[in-house]
């Protein structure tokens, strides 16, 4: 059942495509990148990862401590 719901959700999202190529100027701006700068974020994510108990989500790389 859960599998069908997931497929249905993904299909629904795919079907709600609304933007044409000429409408994507704002989406292409640097400030609209959902990933940001990968290298810059990696440094900060490691710093936060060694100081916050949570794991996963939008960041927190692994590999040793380098913390306290």
């Amino acid at each position: 059942m859960k599998k069908y719901l997931l497929v249905l959700s993904l299909t629904s999202l795919a079907a709600c495509a609304t933007t044409k190529p000429y409408q994507r100027a704002k989406l292409a701006k640097v400030s609209m990148s959902p990933d940001g700068d990968e290298d810059r974020n990696a440094l900060r994510a490691h710093m936060l990862g060694t100081r916050e108990g949570a794991i996963g989500g939008f960041g927190h790389g692994g590999g040793g401590c380098g913390c306290n």
Partner: protein, 388 residues
């Protein structure tokens, strides 16, 4: 030997990238060299300097690239973690190498990564695989990822034949990015983490108390803390002990909205985390970007992190008639606390060069930690990126 290995791997990656160059001769600027440095200092006497260098070579215009990144953490610490164990100060260097490869095949983008991290008492190897696919159109992107980390924990100055522990970590991620309209997009992420093995710190010894000691401190009008705990604790100190398995779930949502009036964008992230140790955490982060011009970008951001500690976390561990508590830890990252961060960033973008400077302050308040009640950290990050 490590440096030779690093050099060999980096050279191998770049050689592979160069091999692709002839096929991409008509592209504009496929190479990127990024240098970044993070500087961290706090009122708990910890200082970390983390310089890194990364090289990227685009393989296609749809996210395909080969990359190598080397980062070093130079840590100097005389924190409460250190001085409470009757040690004055320590300095340590951690080295990390990351290699990545991604190649687009139509609307599919598979990727592969490897990570090696070394410090004298901790070695980690990580392998990751990822897959991205556009669903229907470029407005919807599905991402899947899995990584495994194989860590070996040692003890400084002790051969691994005498002390060596293992930790294996698995991570799975599912993400969906959806363009809502020409100015708005949303990303949702779910991650599962499973850790199995040694998660204690071999250097940490947990002070133990009995009810008589707690009562004596109360009668003396003394609050137990870093300066007073030694007078009231029991003579023995025991190693940390935490469960060997930890399973965590994180759910996150990111909203990005372009605002013409700025001009710029607003980003809002919310994340919730829960694990099998009873840790619960909420993170809220906001970021406002102001595009003053094509070359100058300013941003202001804030982050709020709120955590409920592990079920077995205690400010003081009491010995009873049944002995001392089976699980005990001094890891403050497993305690109840919150953190508030505020920061500013400036970015300059030229034709092929770009640079940024980022500064933030982070205040952490521990509500139930024996050795520390708060900590103020200052963080600076700067970088120079070259694309050609």
């Amino acid at each position: 030997m490590r440096l030779q290995l690093t050099a060999l791997l980096v050279a191998g990656s770049l050689a592979a990238a160069t091999w692709q160059e002839s096929a991409l001769a008509d592209e504009g600027a496929p190479w990127k060299i990024n240098t970044d440095t993070l500087f961290y200092t706090d009122t708990d006497n910890v200082m970390v300097v983390s310089p890194q260098v990364a090289v990227h070579r685009d393989l296609d215009e749809d996210g395909g690239a080969v990359s190598a990144r080397v980062v070093v953490d130079a840590v100097t610490a005389a924190s409460v973690d250190v001085v409470s164990q009757a040690t004055n100060r320590f300095s340590e260097v951690r080295e990390e190498l990351n290699l990545g490869l991604a190649k687009a095949f139509g609307s599919n983008l598979p990727s592969l990564s490897y990570r090696y991290s070394y410090e004298p008492d901790y070695v980690s190897h990580g392998i990751g695989v990822g897959f991205q696919r556009q669903l229907g159109s470029s407005d919807t992107t599905l991402g899947l990822g899995y990584d495994i980390s194989l860590d070996t924990v040692g003890y400084t100055g002790t051969p691994t034949s005498a002390f060596s522990k293992k930790l294996t970590s698995h991570g799975g991620a599912l993400s969906l990015t959806q363009v809502i309209d020409p100015k708005t997009l949303v990303r949702v992420v779910y991650t599962l983490s499973v850790q199995n093995g040694y998660m204690e710190k071999a250097y940490r010894f947990v002070p133990l108390f009995d009810q008589a000691g707690i009562d004596a401190a109360r009668a003396d009008g003394v609050k137990l803390n870093l300066s007073t705990f030694d007078q009231y604790r029991l003579p023995m100190r025991v190693n940390e002990e935490v469960p060997d398995t930890r399973i965590g779930h994180a759910g996150a949502v990111r909203l990005l909205r372009y605002i013409d009036a700025l001009p710029g964008s607003f980003r809002l992230d919310y994340q919730v985390f829960a694990d099998s140790w009873g840790v619960r955490a909420h993170t809220l982060e906001s970021n406002v970007y102001w595009e003053k011009s094509d070359s100058h970008l300013f941003s202001v951001y804030s982050r709020f992190y709120l955590q409920q500690g592990a079920d077995f976390w205690k400010r003081e561990y009491l010995v009873s008639a049944n002995g001392f508590p089976h699980y005990r830890t001094l890891d403050r990252d497993l305690s109840d606390y919150y953190t508030v961060t505020g920061g500013l960033r400036y970015e300059w973008k030229g034709d092929s060069l770009s640079a940024y400077l980022d500064g933030s302050a982070m205040e952490t308040v521990y509500s139930d930690y024996l050795f520390l009640s708060s900590r103020l950290a200052l963080i600076a990050q700067a970088g120079l990126h070259w694309q050609f």
